[in-house]
Amino acid sequence: MKLLLMGNPNVGKSAIFSRLTGVNVIVSNYPGTTVELKKGAMKLGDQWAEVIDVPGTYTLEPISRAEEVAVEMLKKGDVVINVVDATNLERSLYLTLQLLERKTPVIVALNMWDEAKHKGIVIDVEKLEKLLGVPVAPTVAITGEGIKELVSRLPGVVLRTVT
């Protein structure tokens, strides 16, 4: 199974990638840090899934080569983890809507949740879930908060629990 991390530039895709796979990648506070695909693996239940850190893009109509790479990848993924900047919801959702128009299942990681709280931004996660029709999980990638919930709610993934 292939998991794609997609989202606008500088929303923390690489930080989430690091959290999921344990693979170290360069993370910085400016857009365009990731220009190549970075691949890693994570254990999901009893199977391994490939996780791909896709360069950031604002739309699915690419302008730069890094964005072309992103759109090209979308065809090959099984699940898209759409990383959204909670402090920039309005800007981020355009790509989310475009992703939802495609056939690949989507889960939204509402990242930088801590920073949004500090900025006085309150987001009704349940309502957002209902409106988008896909799971939404608040995360703080840099500290690892919310990553477990994100993984447990991945669409099409049944995590077997020992009974």
Binding site: V27, N29, V35, T87, L89, E90, L128, L131
Partner: protein, 408 residues
């Protein structure tokens, strides 16, 4: 919500607006200190002084940490190591193996910079001369990256960068290139057109020396005083500007404007900062050590076979005539294809005057990228553009080198 049919731009934005208005509430609050600094570092009136202070501070911190590590950590370590090497030298006795492993003894002693053995210079250059500065540079760079200062610097230098056919964001590629040209060259991918990538990559290969090279230049030119270093940096900066200006005039096509997202200032998270520093140090060691050792080995073989002397004779008109360097500098130019720090180290035994050291440093920085950068550039630009870029490098290196030789 229907998810099957494709919608138009406006429909999507309208939908975004509907969703946001239903799920998001923003409470009122005052500007934070970080936001105030954020505004101040973009407005030219306050931004330019802030940029100057940041850059000066960056240089000071890198020098302070680099020099500190050398004199308090690495030199003491090599002092402990010296008796071991001398023992080995006695055991081996004179011969080819001794020359390759230990190198030439100078006045009966190991000279870590000049001996040119795998176990002496081959270890001393990457660890005791280059690594301390690489460490210092990446520590400071990581801080600048994670705080969010770099995109603001990009906004500030945007109009300058347009003169050379790029836009402000390319400054980040050049800064990465100061650490090592390899990640610098890769980062040019964020630029929109092939033309911009070509200009940025060519300028980086020519006028942006990597930290390994800079550390060695500081060693060889710096011992004549700060003035020489100033001339080297000023020359490279002028080359960067003039060549960029010319390329922008000559090359067909346009350099489009971009809209860049400027992220908020964040207080760097030290865990992430240290992890990134560690990754970069590991990358440096993995990249540098094998090539440095290979470089030192090849120097020895070439000397023994008399090849360097032979090429030296052929290249004499250019090296001696045009650049005013001793014939022995040819060996450095050959090794420079492999690894620039070793190449500059090879200049030391030649006893160059200050102007010769300046010319040699500038030419070595400009004439061709090291093998690792060359491989990445060829992949990014393609063979045809790489050949064009290489022609520009060699021509400009000879021109600038010759000119410096005349002036100094």
């Amino acid at each position: 919500m229907s998810v099957d049919d494709e919608r138009s731009d406006e429909q999507r934005w309208a939908e975004v607006g509907r969703i946001v208005s239903q799920v998001q509430t923003v409470t009122h609050r005052h500007h934070t200190l970080l936001e105030r600094i954020g505004d101040a570092s973009i407005k030219p009136l306050t931004g330019i002084p802030i940029a100057i202070v940041v850059l000066l501070l960056t240089f000071q911190v890198i020098r302070f940490i680099g020099e500190g590590l050398i004199s308090y950590v690495f030199e003491p370590i090599f002092d402990i190591y010296t008796p071991l090497v001398m023992k080995l030298s006695e055991l081996l006795g004179p011969g080819f193996v001794h020359d390759v492993l230990i190198g030439t003894l100078i006045e009966g002693k190991v000279d870590y910079v000049q001996s040119m053995g795998l176990l002496t210079t081959g270890l001393y250059v990457p660890f005791a001369m280059v690594l301390p500065y690489v460490f210092a540079f990446y520590l400071v760079l990581g801080f600048l990256e994670d705080s969010g200062y770099l995109p603001r610097l990009a906004v500030l230098v945007d109009s300058l960068m347009h003169r050379i056919g790029l836009h402000g964001f390319a400054i980040i590629s050049f800064l990465l290139g100061l650490g090592c040209n390899v990640p610098g060259a890769l980062s040019t991918r964020i630029l929109e057109t092939k033309r911009q990538v070509f200009i940025a990559a060519t300028l980086m290969a020519i006028a942006v020396p990597c930290m390994a090279q800079l550390a060695m230049i500081a060693g060889i030119v710096g011992k004549h005083g700060a003035k020489g270093l100033g001339i080297v940096f000023f020359t490279l900066f002028m080359v960067w500007m003039v060549l960029g200006y010319l390329l922008n005039k000559i090359l067909k096509g346009k350099s489009p404007e971009i809209f860049m997202e400027v992220p908020p200032y964040r207080i760097p998270y030290w865990g992430a900062l240290l992890k990134k520093l560690w990754m970069r140090i590991r990358f440096f060691l993995g990249e540098a050590i094998p090539y440095v050792l290979l470089g030192v080995f090849i120097v020895n073989v070439l000397y023994v076979l008399g090849i360097i002397e032979f090429i030296g004779k052929i290249a004499a008109p250019i090296v001696v005539g045009l650049l005013g360097l001793p014939e022995g500098a040819v060996a450095a130019l050959i090794v420079g294809f492999l690894r620039k720090d070793v190449a500059i180290g090879m200049l030391l035994p030649l006893g160059l005057t200050m102007s010769q050291a300046i010319v040699a440093s500038v030419v070595l920085a400009m004439y061709f990228p090291c093998v690792a950068t060359f491989a990445v550039l060829t992949k990014e630009l393609g063979i045809v553009d790489m050949a064009k870029s290489a022609a520009i490098m060699i021509a400009s290196a000879l021109m600038v080198g010759g000119l410096l030789n005349l002036i100094l």
